[in-house]
Structures are given as structure tokens and as C-alpha cells.
Symmetry: none
Subunit: 388 residues, 2 copies
Amino acid sequence: MKATVIGVGTELLVGHTQDTNTAELAADLLESGAEVEVSFRVADELEPLVRELAHALRHHDLVVTTGGLGPTPDDLTREAVARAIGAPLVADEAMLEKIRAFFDRMGRPMPEANRRQAMRPRGAEWIENPRGTAPGFLWQGGGKTLLALPGPPEEWRPMWEEAKRRLGLSKKPRYRKVLKTFGLGESQLAEILGPLFAEVGSYAKPWGVELVVHDEDLVKKIRKKLKGKIWGEDEDTLAGLVHRRLLAEGKTLAVMESVTGGLVAELLTEVPGASRTFRGGMVSYTREAKARFGVPEEVLEAHGQVSAPTARAMAEAARRLLDADFGLAVTGVAGPEALEGHPVGTVFVGLATDRGSWARPYRFPDQGRERVRLRAAYAALAYFWSEA
Amino acid sequence: MKATVIGVGTELLVGHTQDTNTAELAADLLESGAEVEVSFRVADELEPLVRELAHALRHHDLVVTTGGLGPTPDDLTREAVARAIGAPLVADEAMLEKIRAFFDRMGRPMPEANRRQAMRPRGAEWIENPRGTAPGFLWQGGGKTLLALPGPPEEWRPMWEEAKRRLGLSKKPRYRKVLKTFGLGESQLAEILGPLFAEVGSYAKPWGVELVVHDEDLVKKIRKKLKGKIWGEDEDTLAGLVHRRLLAEGKTLAVMESVTGGLVAELLTEVPGASRTFRGGMVSYTREAKARFGVPEEVLEAHGQVSAPTARAMAEAARRLLDADFGLAVTGVAGPEALEGHPVGTVFVGLATDRGSWARPYRFPDQGRERVRLRAAYAALAYFWSEA
């Protein structure tokens, strides 16, 4: 089966919004056994959209579109598909009621413009959108299949799964294991792994390096060589592992953050059910805030805000103030300027437990505020993972 | 002039390498006055590449390709172009010497494979590559122009400038203003703006809707119609505006967050110099943490964690505890489960000032935890921006 993807939207074409849809769908179609040789991005204009839809249908068995299903006049996918397949657009009262009900749930009246979203080409069946007002549709005719999905990934992903079910497309499992490491750069990994390194895909992430391996034996060999450096695999996240460990031990964690400004707490609370293990956090972005939250004045006086003793005292204060089993803290310099004589990228992570408290220094390259903060936040989680 | 861009490479098609080339070139072509309605990503395979090149040439005056000019057998752009335009590939001794000289400078012998890079379709002229071994070429015939560039941006960018000089393409500075709104959906904006809406680009962001306008008069008209709904323009961020306003007034802010788990603090501390206006924050992810941070037991008892009075009490506690001029707070339900009978997407933002405190309810669609949290965090900043 030959398949192609059309991303609809002027903003995608010129990069105003980054188009990740067409590549994600192309990769998924490939994994479902389809041949994918080309993808398209088309502006919000009727004529080229009709032309490229017709061209795509001529050379492919399945054409998937994303975007252009909104309520506004520049949302043209419905009309362009209707023209490309030669079927009129028809209104569907039942779908209109569903869209109206969506607005009811938000406590707002449905704007007139949204009526357009209840139109589909005659002969097409709906793919309902559980997360938005733009339903998709599936049309089949003359041996060709066309699937129209909305643009936002969180909306189209469940609809795509539903469409695949209806079309009988299923992933052909290919062995694939992602190994997630911390604390080693790619060139260090290359040295440690030797010739094995050439057989894996390696990708630098803010939390470390990800290795993608397509062979089970190779995974075993790599695990042996990287003992203690692999913190997780596949869909694992550092915050998820921290949550799972705490849950298993019936323990809780509190954090105090300076340089990361809330990022560690945010990562921890991305995990559903986080409130069972995460007591809460403090963002002590100023010296006064650190003191208010219980970091002793004499520690701040003697060592400054960016130091190992302060990181320890912050972790202890977080643990104490929120009555948690563990306290985790981060202080450092994200830039753009140095602080207390410490260059940008200097970071200390502190950990407080019922057995005592510790801190560890880190030094990240100055790759900009955002990058330093991200790496510091992941370093804190990795420190907890390896030391707590 | 109608122009299009073809990105060649299987890795671009499936997103293994992110394709930024086609969007960058499309945007640059637009700025040079060309019409760009579609772009293509094509796998490293001869047949679809020839087909899409021919298709693109049929409908456009200028076709620009990137990628597929390397020395290995899967680099097929040269051959595909030759077939699409119906001209044979010919070797060029002078170019071969230049490629050999490039290797000489690296102190390495030229591999035999690189001979292919000295081939061009008959009638095409070279565009030299100052930064690599892959020269590009420019072909013109039958009123059509085809430009083949290599894939790496640092290589093709100077070559693209050279090609534009030869083609007489020059950037026409084009007026562009981005207006950033909050609190209205795209369909509501379409209603308010009426026919003006068709003349702007509108893009939904987690903080609201962004309008891109290419006409100065139109900007004035839209500003008038959307008074009080536009919070910023161009590179403005909500956190940056909050910081600037506080700085101008010599005031400070503290936050307490539940549902957003640190995201509001994180957005505020992304701004360089944030410590001058941001006192710090608390992540009161549990009921106990809220109480510890000073939310009165009787408020939690009477109204629960997700309520307007609790949001107000959280804002007051943040203001008090960190001795700030303003306290800002968010509580709500990000999911996956409802909380205290409130459905996912229920959010309350509280604001405490020296003149009293307020709270406002929001209701976001359940588009997943991450999206609800993002929208809640931006709602809090926008509430501060409009009410403080």
C-alpha cells in the first residue's frame, strides 16, 4: 500500500509553526507496513490544495491530511477534499449537535462559524474528535482512501488510532529498545562501547544520551558495558521512575529550587498521581526567599547562594518544612550573567534524607539559560535516582 | 513567480532528521516576492523523486531542491533532475579538480565515490559550495528554473545567496506584525473581526491566539476592535511583560501553584533578571502543603482545594509569606481524573494585592494533562497582566 501525508496550513509551509505532523504520520505509516515516499505541506489556499490532493490520490492508495478543519474561512480541507474527490459537502445535524454539546460543556454558546465543522463530503464517515470541535472524516472510493484529521497532535493522535482500527492497519512489531543514560557524552559512550557504538542510534537529550538499539543481544552487551549509567528505557522518564520508587517504598519528596525556577517540581508533577509522593516545592529565587523558607542565615552568609552547603541546607529545609522523607534542592547560575563569581553553568544539587544530607557540584556548558536550567533539573532528578 | 521547495531525504520524510530547510527556503522565497503554495519531502528513491520533480516543474516557475547531492549511491538528486528535465548527466573535469583540492586541504585523498559530485545535467551551471564537497547547480529551460542545493544549512545558505544574485531575486522587506491575544478563541475572533479576519493569519497557542498581519492600517483597525484583548506583539512573552511592568513600578510578585506544579514560576524565571521582581514561589501540590504554606484550614475545609476562595487564600499566603507586593495563585484539575467533583480543565486563578484579593474561574477542554497545565499557567499570567 502506497501512502502519503499532506500537512495543510500556511504556517507549516513557512515554518511559523513547526510541522511535526507529517513526519510523525509518515513514520507511523511506515511501521504499519505502508510505503511512504513523499509528503506535502500546502498553504491555506483552495486551488493548490485541490491540485495536490488530486495529485496525491492519483499516485497513492491512502492519503492522510492534517489541519484545515477549523471553523474559520481559511480552513479549507473539507471543501478541497470534496472537490478533489468530486463529491458535494453535506451538513450533518447529529454532528452539529455534538459540536454544540462540546461548547455547552465549556459553558459557552457555539459560534455560528463552527457550523462548518459539521460538513463532510458525501459518502465520507466521521472520525469523532474527543478533544476538540473539529471532527475528522474517512472517505473511500475507486480503490482510494482519504483520511482528514485536524492539526493539533493531541487531537489527531487518538483519531488516527481509531482510523487505523477501521482500516485494519496494524503496526508490524520490529524489535526496538531505547536505553537512556545519564552522565556520559556521546564521545565517551563511543569510547566505552567501542565497535558496538556503530550499531546503535545515539541522540543527545537534555537528560543525557539516548541509545536506540534494534537487536536484543546487542542490548544485553550494552547493558553490561554501561552498568550503572542506564537509568531507564523506552517510555521511562526520570520523574516517573522517582515517583514509582517513592510509591513502592511509601515515601515522599519535597523540593526547593533556585536556578531551575520550578522546573523540577513541574517535571515531578507531570506524572499522573504525583500528589501521592510529591509533597510540594518552593522556588527560592532570591536570597530572602531562601531565608524565609528556612535556609539558615549563617549558611548563606558563609557560603553564598551558589554552593554545596547551601544546596544541602535547601534540601534539609524543604524536607523539614513539608514534612517529607526526602528533600531535593538545586541552586546554580543559568546566566546570562555570572553570580557570586561562579560562571554560568555552575550547579549544585542537594539531597536530604533521614540518614543525613549531601550535595554534588555540576558544571554545564553555557548553552543559554533554557538549556542550563533543563540540564540542572534533570541532573537533580538523576542525582536523586542514583543516590537516594 | 510561483516557486516550490523539495527536501530530498528519507530521514526528513520520517522525521529522523528534522526538516527545517524547506520551511526556511519557503519563507525566504516569500520574502523575495515569490508565491509559495506547497513544499515536498521525498525519500531517497529515484522514481518518486523524478515524478515529484516533474510535477513541481509543471506547476511552478522555480523549483529549489535541498539534499541528495552527496557522494553515496543513495544521493539521487543529480540523476533525478537529469531525468525530469530530459538532459543527460555529464562529468566536469574542472569541478572534479576543485573537489580533489578540497580533500587536499583536509590532508586526505579523494575517495572514488566523490567523482559523482562533479556530474551535472547538461546545460546546468555550477553553484560552488565553499563549505563542502557537494556543489549545487542551476538549470534554466522552457521558462522554468531548477536550483539544486545540498542538505546542510551551513552549506546551502551561502549558495542560496549566490543563486538569488544570479536570478535577480532580492528580498522585499515586507511589513509583518504579530498581535498576541488572550481569552478569545479563533471563532470568536473571526466574529469580532468580521471581514478583517480573512486578511490575517491566526494561530492557536497555549496562551491564546496569535494574529499575523502584513498591513499597518489593518493592525490599527484590529487593535481598535480588540481593545483590551491584545496583550503583546512580536517577540513579547506574558512573563516578560509581567516582569517589565513590575520593574517599572518597583514592585514584586510571589506565586503559589497547585495544578501547574511549578510552571508559572518557571515561566517567570525564564526571563533574565527575574530575581529583581520575582520573590519566589511555592508548589502546594497537596492539601497539607497548602496548609503548611499558610492557606487557612477553614478555607480548605469549607471550599475544598479547587475553588475561588482557596485560590484567593493561596495568593494571599504567597504574598504574605514572601513579603511581596502581589501574590498570584493557581489551583485546578489537570487530570487524568476529576478532583473534588470538578471535571478536568477546571481552574481558578487568585490574585492578592494591597487593595484586596480576587479570583476567577476558567474552564479548559480536557486536551490532556500537559495542555491543561500550560493553559492554566498562561491564564494566570494573563490574569495578572489584565487585573493587577
